[in-house]
């Protein structure tokens, strides 16, 4: 027995990042409570990908699970980063919007139902372009309707991260949980380099990318709530904590004056040092479980 205890906890843990979307969602629900809505055996696929020579996937990269966390009703929507970089298309967008709307309806009828969003996504699926962009606008609208009644908890574990229009969805959430491997931003480094030049952002500079978009920075500067190591049990515990906490007093995306003042105070004559913005804005939360 003593040999087992010598193996460090980090080795014995279940990595969340290594799980696919469905397995991630199943790590979070109370045992026996999760039920997938419109699962892959119903084969509702993107009608737009095959005509472009791209293989569709039978869940369109979006897994919806209705269940309970800590005895409370929740709906989990998990995006599959391994399929088209978790991008939002017509079907995946409709699944997410429907899940949020139904949670809002139950909440209004007295059964408060939180939403847990596992976001691994590059944003709009460009092969479905305008329907993807519209889907994100609709997700935002439905999220805000639910947010009047029950919390939205976003988890960004990595390795895709959360980018593009879906970063607004994260920004509108009640709580954001990230790992140090995760990234969150509107524009990825490659896009900035393409649009504004390599002197603006060198997308091969991974240290710079994580210094700006990484989980430690986003939590450190107070635009995400909790940094958790890549451990399914720890992520599940963080999600459970926020489901139980219910709605925050005020949502981050409503703190317009605070952030407007912060933007006004920035010296824009040069690039912003990530560490100094963390110091100025942040509440310097520690990594849970870190030494």
């Amino acid at each position: 027995m003593s040999a087992i205890t010598l193996v460090p906890a980090f080795v014995r843990r279940t990595s969340f990042i290594e799980l696919n979307a469905r397995a991630r969602a199943n790590e979070l629900t109370d045992p026996g409570t999760g039920r997938e809505m419109l699962g892959p055996f119903e084969r509702l696929e993107s009608p737009w990908l095959p005509e472009q020579g791209i293989a569709p996937q039978s869940d369109d990269g979006c897994v919806v699970i209705k269940g309970q966390i800590g005895g409370k009703p929740v709906v989990i929507v998990a995006l599959e980063g391994g399929f088209q970089a978790g991008s939002m298309g017509e079907v995946s967008g409709a699944k997410m919007t429907a899940a949020l709307d139904l949670a809002a309806r139950d909440s209004q009828n007295g059964k408060k139902t939180a939403a847990v969003l596992l976001l691994e996504t590059g944003g709009v699926r460009l092969q479905e372009a305008n329907l993807g962009l519209a889907a994100i606008a609709e997700v935002i609208s439905s999220l805000l309707a639910l947010r009047q009644h029950a919390p939205i908890i976003t988890v960004i574990a990595g390795t895709v991260g959360c980018f593009g229009g879906m970063s607004l969805v994260a920004g509108l959430s009640s709580y954001i949980v990230m790992t140090p491997e995760a990234r969150l931003g509107l524009n990825g480094a490659e896009v900035i380099e393409q649009e504004s030049g390599i002197e603006e952002f060198d997308s091969s500079d991974r240290a710079l990318i994580w210094a700006i978009n990484g989980g430690e920075q986003r939590v450190g500067m107070g635009v995400a709530d909790e940094l958790v190591q890549d451990d399914a049990a720890k992520i599940a515990a963080a999600v459970r904590k926020y489901v139980e906490a219910g709605l925050p007093r005020v949502h981050r995306s409503q703190q317009v004056e605070l952030y407007r003042d912060r933007i006004a105070a920035i010296d824009t004559s040069r690039q912003i040092d990530p560490l100094s913005i963390r110091k100025q804005w942040g509440t310097a939360k520690k990594v849970e479980g870190a030494k």
Binding site: L38, E90, A129, I140, L168, N187, I192
Partner: protein, 274 residues
């Protein structure tokens, strides 16, 4: 991409708010005015290029940090002021080439700024303000999500200078590993990929496509025509629901978005028994 982005936005803002000067206190890239629209006083909002802007990557009409928070502030202000009275219409005049693509923007969490603006627009709509988007030029990607896509009703000009899209052509081609020519060809074959506003109109997302004469330099009758369309859209929004359900109501939407509507119906049915 036209070099004229934002000029149309400014021209239409001025045309529709002529007698009422812009409010003080916004950055040079954001115009706000309360102006008469039918029997209402409506709040008009527009993002315009500002070559002297503080942030170097958003001087050509992109929506950046200052723009997003300025929009959010102006909308929240109108919502607060109208808390216990007639909810004024909010009109977003849209001519935005994109969100800001800069390192400063990323470092200072532009995703949250964009979220704050979308939050403000959607909250205004859910509280009963008619929120109308008037797309006079470009409405691209995160720029449109930040400024305009939460509208109760979207109006757009039927004009080749009007583009509503997820990403401009050159960037979309690079990211999907296609040539611009391939992308244009695909746009003709695959409706949601098209850059043509008439194809966009077939997705069922628009309230109306407006045929206007000389949209760069509108004459008085054209301005009157657009004003009437806005008044009609406001009345229609007031008579309808405060969500985005109208995206799916048209015959076009029911046809084009059949897969999405099927997904929705099945989840709804399964939800009841789970």
């Amino acid at each position: 991409m036209s070099a004229q982005v934002g000029l149309r936005g400014r021209a239409w803002f001025q045309a529709l708010t002529a007698k009422d000067p812009p409010l003080d206190g916004d950055p040079g890239s954001v115009l706000t005015a309360d102006a008469i629209l039918g029997t209402d006083k409506a709040r008009f909002l527009c993002v315009v290029p500002n070559p002297q802007g503080r942030f170097p990557c958003v001087r050509r009409g992109e929506v950046g940090l200052e723009e997003a928070y300025a929009l959010a502030r102006r909308i929240c202000e109108a919502v607060e002021q109208d808390e216990s009275r007639n909810k004024r219409p909010i009109v977003a005049i849209v001519d935005v080439k994109s969100q800001g693509y800069g390192r400063r923007e990323e470092t200072a969490a532009i995703f949250l700024a964009a979220a704050a603006a979308a939050d403000a627009y959607a909250t205004a709509r859910m509280k009963g303000h008619p929120v109308i988007s008037l797309v006079v030029g470009q409405a691209i990607s995160g720029g449109f999500l930040t400024h305009g896509y939460q509208a109760s009703r979207i109006l757009a000009f039927d004009d080749s200078g009007v583009v509503i899209h997820a990403m401009h052509k050159e960037a979309a081609a690079r990211i999907t590993l296609r040539s611009v020519a391939d992308l244009e060809r695909l746009g003709h074959e695959i409706l949601p990929m098209s850059y043509d506003i008439r194809d966009y109109a077939k997705l069922g997302l628009l309230h109306k496509l407006l045929h206007v004469e000389n949209p760069d330099n509108p004459a008085a009758p054209t301005v009157g025509q657009v004003r009437d369309a806005l008044i009609e859209a406001v009345a229609d929004a007031r008579a309808g629901a405060t969500d985005l359900g109208n995206h799916f109501k048209s015959e076009d939407a029911r046809k084009i978005r059949l897969a999405g509507l099927t997904a929705r119906a099945r989840i709804e049915a399964e939800w009841a028994t789970a």
